[in-house]
């Protein structure tokens, strides 16, 4: 039943943009139609996910499919349902948001195209998540990748958008080719075209190759450091509600597929988990460190996706370690932590992107150093962004805390293990995660502060306007979910249990983690906050207002405020060994130095310092091979002669 619903949802989503193509360029009918279709598809998709939790049907549907190696094999188990629900939920909200953010009336050139590919993107993700056959999976995977590329390049008249699109396209293809190899190897090992890895020797060369290929192919999609290079520019270039979908859902498909492939390996070698845990940790720490150095709010959010993907990989790595070492509680906590974080990150990251979109909509800029003081001009957006910011930092009482707590619990369980020496690895991961939390806090304090607090730093910011209801509504829904999961995590425990069943875990999560106590603590926290606030408010009622004191400085201006760059400078300096920031600092001479400007930026070190030089060198090497084809027909004939002689000698 849920499979049928899910397939219908995908089909509807894929077609959602089509009617719009035939409607007028100026009318609103097309966009409303697309939005309603997505909404219907989304409701079907979310119901499919819920149904799968309530009444799981492990068999799925399998029909013949007339392509070589293909079968129309579709199943929605707990693991798929987690992701399925998320994609359709966020897709609906994004589509509604798009009505206000990217109205046809204001984007006559590309509005219809964008909606077409938005629907296809949703459908592609949905399809790959329910696909049980590898050809079907690859179809969904690539539809997703191409649709994402086409949405990212919606504004292809801008050079930076074209660059981002090209980079994304190349990296996603590299990943897809890894998957070709992965599935071909799996086919060779099992003779089947699905995710079933039973019978593959995990420790052998084929098993190793499969794991490494999965790590590369899915890691590229997920944006695991150092494979994250495409992610910041692509997220920054896409229309914001697409960024929300990409960051919230698209990159998670990598996590989904990794969890799916790993699920089949009953006895993975210990180093698999260790590697995933280390990569996840590195990704989390460096992701957030890069985020701190950004000026562009969307790039900042994109780097946080790298960070959060790292946290999810830490969870998955922990689960793999648990399997390898025979600790089912680690498997449960790691997997549940990772999967809950998938949901949570989808919610708060979408919320933050939509919030950033409202800011861009209201001010026309994404440069944080040109913003400020928006809280008074966009109170709703500010509050919702704040909710997202607190959630993404993993702070109680919101949802981010719950999933991070699960991962911490797992890491501590691992650290307390008495068999072997692997516990040391997990015990270094926990403090790293703490560092990540603290850096994320610094980063979002900076972002929230620079955008919404203080005084506006530019005229754009001064004249900002609040977003329309179509944009605020989806954000409210997301924020409500963040709060709900944060306050009552026990609600989602059954879903996580059902997903963990895919990994053969049968212990309920409530038995392994104090979900009820989290609710109690959250309620107590709210009570304490309420009480303190009430007391303070009653005392300060009727207080006076005056300009900021600022130690008695006589003429404060908005330009004197700490900017996001200055806020980040110290942290960026601490991580300079990895971030390689570029600074253009003036030399100030004499007691009354002349006016000077400071400029600092943190470009992507992996992309700028490793990948691009490598690509350039390769292309140059290729170019130097061009002499082969110099237009000289004698040489061409000579090649034929040479080939002939060589082959005749060889044979």
């Amino acid at each position: 039943m849920s499979e049928v619903l899910a397939v219908c949802a995908c089909a509807l989503a894929a077609l959602s943009g089509l009617p719009g193509l035939f409607s007028s360029r100026n009318g609103r009918a097309g966009e409303r139609m697309a939005c309603s279709l997505i909404a219907v598809a989304g409701i079907a998709g979310v119901s499919a996910a819920v149904l799968a939790f309530v009444a799981p049907s492990p068999e799925g549907i399998s029909l013949r499919w007339a392509v070589p190696g293909g079968a129309l094999q579709v199943r929605v188990d707990g693991l798929s349902a987690i992701f399925l629900g998320q994609i359709f939920f966020i897709s609906i909200l994004g589509a509604i948001y798009g009505l206000g953010y990217w109205p046809q009336a204001a984007h006559r050139e590309n509005g219809r195209k964008l909606r077409l590919f938005y629907g296809l993107l949703t459908a592609g993700i949905g399809l790959l998540i329910i696909a049980g056959n590898s050809v079907l999976f690859l179809v969904g995977w690539e539809v997703m990748a191409l649709a994402a590329f086409l949405t990212v390049t919606t504004e292809d008249e801008k050079p930076e958008v074209r660059q981002a699109g090209y980079l994304y396209l190349c990296t996603t293809r590299a990943g897809t080719l890894c998957l070709f190899a992965l599935f071909a190897l799996l086919f060779g090992a099992t003779g089947r075209m699905d995710f079933d890895t039973h019978g593959v020797d995990a420790g052998g060369p084929v098993g190793t190759a499969i794991f490494l290929l999965a790590l590369a192919g899915f890691g590229l999609k997920a944006g695991l450091m150092p494979l994250h290079i495409w992610l910041p520019p692509a997220h920054a270039s896409a229309p914001t509600h697409v960024s929300a979908l990409m960051s919230g859902v698209l990159i998670k498909t990598g996590i989904y597929a990794l969890a799916r492939v790993a699920a089949g390996f009953e006895h993975p070698p210990l180093w698999w988990g260790g590697m995933l845990l280390s990569l996840g940790t590195a990704s989390a720490v460096l992701g957030v460190a890069f985020a701190i150095g950004q000026h562009d709010v969307k790039r900042l959010l994109a780097y946080h996706s790298v960070e959060n993907i790292g946290i999810m990989c830490m969870g998955l790595g922990l689960a793999l370690i648990g399997r390898a070492s025979g600790h089912p509680d680690l498997v449960l906590l790691g997997l549940a932590g990772a999967l809950l974080h998938v949901w949570n990150h989808g919610l708060f990251k979408a919320l933050l992107f939509l919030g950033a979109g409202s800011v861009i909509h209201g001010t026309g800029t994404r440069e944080m150093d040109r913003l400020g003081g928006l809280l008074k001009r966009m109170p709703g957006t500010a509050l919702l962004f704040l909710v997202g910011a607190v959630a993404i930092c993993g702070l109680p009482p919101l949802n981010g805390f719950v999933s991070e707590l699960l991962v911490y619990l797992g890491l501590y369980r691992g650290a307390a293990a008495r068999d072997g020496r692997w516990w040391i690895a997990t015990s270094f991961a926990a403090p790293a995660l703490a560092l990540v939390g603290a850096l994320a806090l610094a980063c979002f304090a900076k972002a929230f502060g620079a955008i919404f607090l203080g005084e506006p730093r530019s005229e754009d910011a001064d004249l900002a306007h609040e977003a329309p209801r179509t944009m605020l509504g989806p954000m409210i829904a997301l924020a409500a979910c963040c709060v709900l999961i944060g306050l009552a995590p026990a609600l989602v425990a059954p879903a996580l249990d059902s997903a963990a069943a895919a990994w053969g875990v049968s212990t309920p999560l409530t038995a392994a983690a104090p979900l009820g106590k989290i609710t109690l603590a959250a309620v107590l926290l709210l009570a304490a906050l309420g009480f303190t606030a009430a007391a303070l408010v009653s005392r300060i009622r009727g207080s006076r207002a005056a300009p900021t004191w600022d130690c008695g400085y006589a003429a404060p201006t908005a330009r004197m405020q700490y900017t996001s760059s200055s806020f980040a400078q110290m942290l960026v300096g601490l991580f300079a060994f990895a971030l390689r920031p570029r600074e253009h600092a003036p030399r100030l001479v004499g007691p009354f130095p002349a006016a000077a400007t400071y400029h600092g930026e943190v470009p992507d070190a992996v992309l700028d310092r490793i990948l691009l030089p490598f690509v350039r060198a390769t292309a140059n090497a290729f170019e130097s091979l061009r002499f082969i084809q110099r237009g000289n027909v004698q040489a061409y004939l000579g090649y034929i002669l040479l080939t002939l002689v060589l082959l005749l000698v060889w044979k």
């Binding site: 502060g449 203080g454 104090p514 005056a546 900021t548 600022d550």
Partner: protein
Amino acid sequence: MNLHTLLLDVVHVAVLLLVPPFLLGVINKTKAAFAGRVGPPYLQPYYDLVKLWRKGSVFSTSTSWVFKAGPVVGFATAVLAGLLLPVAGHAPLSFEGDAILFAYLFALGRFFTVAAALDTGSAFEGMGSAREATFSSLAEPALFFGLLVLGRLARSLSLEVMLTGGHWPPRSAASLVLVMAALFIVLLAENSRIPFDDPNTHLELTMIHEVMVLDHGGPALGTILYGASLKLFIFAALVVGIALPDLGNPWMSLGALLTGVLAVAVAIGVVESLMARLRLVHVPSLLIAACLLSGFGIVLLAR
């Protein structure tokens, strides 16, 4: 829940709310003693708090509700964190993983304190908030390494078990000493004491925490100071809790803990009297050293 536990909980809350300002008094007395002065009375911090609470307040036109939320969240999170800590051999709120909540509650408080500072639009307060965010992110791993050592020894991630377990194997002593040293450094950093910060200075350019509250006055400032003293008490209790053995009797535990906390206050006073404030650029080094200390604690456990 029996009556005895309820009584203990009430005592816990009472101690938590009443004792902390006293620590400030002890510190100031200690410093005065070193300087050869009489110093303010032990109860002076209480008088200050009452005075501040009675004052009127002025708010900057740049600020919004976030500015007022800073003190509220800072105080409320400290109170809740206090509930997680065993004061009389027992914590009112305790569960597996509450140590994480403990750390993250302070983080929540920090987020709003920093945001409140940025809300003023003042360059000084921005500077302070940037420093606060930077240094605390370095202190965090040290704290977690410490918690990890305790967690591995106690096989639990609940502060109550970790701090009242008490029967550590002898060979873990070295690790515990390292952890205590690291946590003491974290305590100094988190509570803006010398050598990280000077609560008495008036040179705003060099300050961290104090500079963030420049624009707060009256009741709001009072709430902040009260919250800060709570935080000091809680960190001191954490450090002392590691050292204290399990005494069996809650009242004896309480007495021992309070004695220990006062001793920590004296130690802080001694440190502040003997040391100068570090140059700002050296602060990260000290914090990283703290991380290394507690990280080494883990490595020692692996013997």
